[in-house]
């Protein structure tokens, strides 16, 4: 805070308080105030550690004298070297229209403090500041009254290019984002996008994990149906090369496809039981790979 430490250090009224209760008044400057200026003052009151300040005794904002108003009162309570410290920030406003430089008085007030020994009163004394008169600037004599008028300040030049570019860029980015969302959700004009059958299947499978044969068989069947949908007709293992040629995005999964058909054939047609977690886990991974390739494609 720019308030320079000035000024007044007063001993409190009672000798018992002499070492313990002090009042310090700080103000930014003690002179140079004009009519209408705000006067900031900080008053530090230090007291014994067990003292309690009565907030009702704080000065109330409002007119103090005919030409001085108290605008604002703020109280902070801290401790300083084991003593209680109240820091009172006061904002006054000066309405005294000075005709010459002179001092005016900021009136004092009293604070009530209660301690273990009883209630005490601490007086914040009046203090003075210097106020100065406002002097008119005497221009040269002009014939026309309008000659005293000064031209309006020119309007600052605002460069519109940058905000326009930014707005345009943001617009393009927004449209791009909208297009991406539309594609993801298959909104028009992306409604012709191939349905993401494997993504839907991966979601469906994740809700019904289990290693028993019936579940595995049902899962394999749903993978078959999804493959049929992706192929546009029933897909058997013999159709795999043709399918991978048409849907090149799935080419990297050839080995997984072959393994899937092998497992399916053994389970459904070979009469084998695949009661192991590996088959179910491999199936889940196969479907998630299919979904990933489908999104990439």
């Amino acid at each position: 805070m720019r308030i320079a430490c000035v000024a007044l250090m007063l001993a409190a009224a009672l000798p018992a308080f002499a070492q313990e209760t002090t009042v310090r008044i700080h103000s930014a400057r003690p002179f140079g105030y004009f009519v209408g200026d705000l006067i900031h003052a900080r008053i530090d009151v230090s007291a014994p550690a067990d003292a309690v300040l009565s907030r009702a005794s704080l000065p109330n904002p409002g007119p103090l004298t005919g030409s001085l108003d108290l605008r604002d009162v703020k109280l902070r309570e801290t401790s300083d070297n084991g003593a209680r410290l109240w820091r009172l920030d006061l904002t006054y406003q000066n309405f005294y229209v000075a005709l010459d430089a002179r001092d005016i008085e900021i009136p004092g007030f009293q604070l009530s403090i209660s301690t273990a020994t009883g209630a005490q009163t601490v007086a914040v004394p009046a203090w003075r500041i210097g106020v100065s008169p406002l002097r008119e600037v005497a221009p040269q004599k002009q014939e026309q009254a309008s000659d005293y008028l000064r031209p309006d300040g020119s309007a600052p030049f605002v460069d519109e290019a940058t905000p326009l570019n930014l707005a345009f860029g943001a617009g393009v980015a927004a449209l791009l984002a909208l297009a991406l969302v539309a594609r993801d959700r298959a909104w028009p004009p992306f409604q012709q996008r191939k349905a993401r059958v494997f993504s839907a299947l991966a979601h469906e499978i994740s809700t019904r994990r289990g290693a028993d044969d019936a579940n595995l068989a049902a899962t394999i069947q749903s993978v078959h149906r999804a493959l049929d949908q992706a192929n546009g007709a029933i897909l058997l293992s013999a159709d795999l090369p043709e399918f991978l040629r048409r849907r090149a995005e799935f080419k990297p999964l050839r080995v997984d496809f072959e393994q899937f058909f092998e497992t399916s054939n053994r389970l459904f047609f070979g009469g084998e039981s695949s009661r192991d977690d590996d088959a179910a886990e491999q199936l889940v991974q196969f479907v998630s790979r299919l979904a990933r390739q489908e999104r990439a494609g």
Binding site: A233, I234, L236
Partner: protein, 343 residues
């Protein structure tokens, strides 16, 4: 238990020999791997074959190679419009003494040792001849010289002339249904095979070509037993049986199974065929294919791989589609496969 192991071992040995048999045939008939595979399936399913194909694509060479590789005899007759059943059974000629003689025909003479009988241009022959052939195929026996002759190892291969319509007698539905498969044999697509067929002199002389084929790779006398073993050994799961029945339903009542073909009213398309005998043949052929692929259980690919060849000629469509029935039936079969989920 030991018996089962013995059968498994025997089938495994026979599978190796069947694959070797295919290799032998392909020494003489190149670029026709699928046709050779289908013929092999027919031999091990004990089924008769209707071969459809252009002239000069190698049908006779194929069948003679098969006959040679099986180690048996080969008999062939040409269908003509004036052919009578007796022409197949009897050989009539004038003897050296000028008197007419009647001897058994080639077919009858080789009855016990004949694995391949080739009837060329079967649709040129009259229905009387067809009916004799039907009995020969169904019962593997004929009556001649006042006694019954048996053909224990016989597989009939018949060829249909698809070019001309005049003076031909289309096979009746019942006759077509007796054929296990109808195999389409076209000129090979492979450019290398085509070039060799045209420019390599080895392919210009059938007799020397046939000498490339090792005689007796398979013993035709064992095929009936092996065929029975295959049918009992190769399993079909409940899922597969359901699949085949669904396919059948899709053929008999396409619209109820969700099958649709553009420009064709499926409600009235199929007029007949797709008989239980046809479906049984389908499963027999699929089992042999599974065995040749080294499996002891059926998978849908086995069924689909042989489906058109086994089923298409047994399905009879509305006469309004008669002239393009082959195409429509094949499309119907494919649509049925595309609409029948598996497993």
């Amino acid at each position: 238990m030991n018996e089962t192991l013995h059968v498994v071992q025997k089938l495994s040995d026979w599978r190796a020999r069947a694959l070797e048999f295919e290799q032998e045939i392909q020494k003489a008939v190149i670029g026709q791997a699928r046709v050779v595979r289908l013929v092999t399936i027919c031999i091990f399913a004990r089924g008769h074959v209707l071969i459809e194909g252009d002239v000069g694509v190698g049908k006779t060479t194929l069948l003679r190679s098969v006959s040679r590789a099986l180690g048996g005899d080969f008999a062939r007759v040409e269908g003509t419009v004036d052919m009578m059943p007796s022409d197949i059974l009897y050989h009539t000629y004038l003897g050296e003494d000028g008197r007419p003689r009647v001897d058994p025909s080639e077919l009858l003479r080789h009855a016990e040792t004949l694995p391949v009988f080739f009837f060329n241009e079967i649709n040129r022959a009259r229905p009387q001849v067809h009916s004799l052939l039907l009995r020969l195929m169904a019962e593997r026996s004929v009556s001649a010289f006042n006694r019954v002759h048996h053909f224990p190892y016989l597989n009939v291969f018949a060829d249909r002339n698809m070019v001309e319509r005049e003076e031909t007698f289309e096979l009746p539905a019942a006759a077509r249904d007796r054929f296990f498969m109808e195999i389409l044999m076209a000129a090979p697509d492979d450019e290398d095979a085509r070039r060799r067929l045209v420019f390599d002199p080895a392919f210009h002389d059938t007799e020397t070509l046939l000498e490339r084929v090792n005689s007796g790779t398979l013993d035709y006398r064992e095929t009936p037993a092996v065929a029975r073993a295959i049918q009992t050994h190769v399993r079909s799961s409940e899922a597969l049986e359901r699949y085949v029945l669904n396919l059948w339903q899709a053929l008999v009542d396409p619209s109820s199974a969700g099958v649709s073909l553009p420009d064709v009213d499926l409600d009235s398309l199929v007029k007949g065929g797709a008989s239980p005998r046809g479906l049984a043949a389908l499963v027999r052929a699929a089992r042999v294919r599974a065995w040749l692929e080294g499996r002891d259980y059926l998978v849908p690919e086995d069924v689909r791989d042989v489906f058109i060849e086994v089923m298409a000629h047994r399905i009879f469509v509305d006469p309004i589609h008669a002239l393009r029935s082959d195409d429509i039936v094949k499309r119907l079969c494919r649509a049925a496969f595309d609409a029948t989920p598996v497993p």
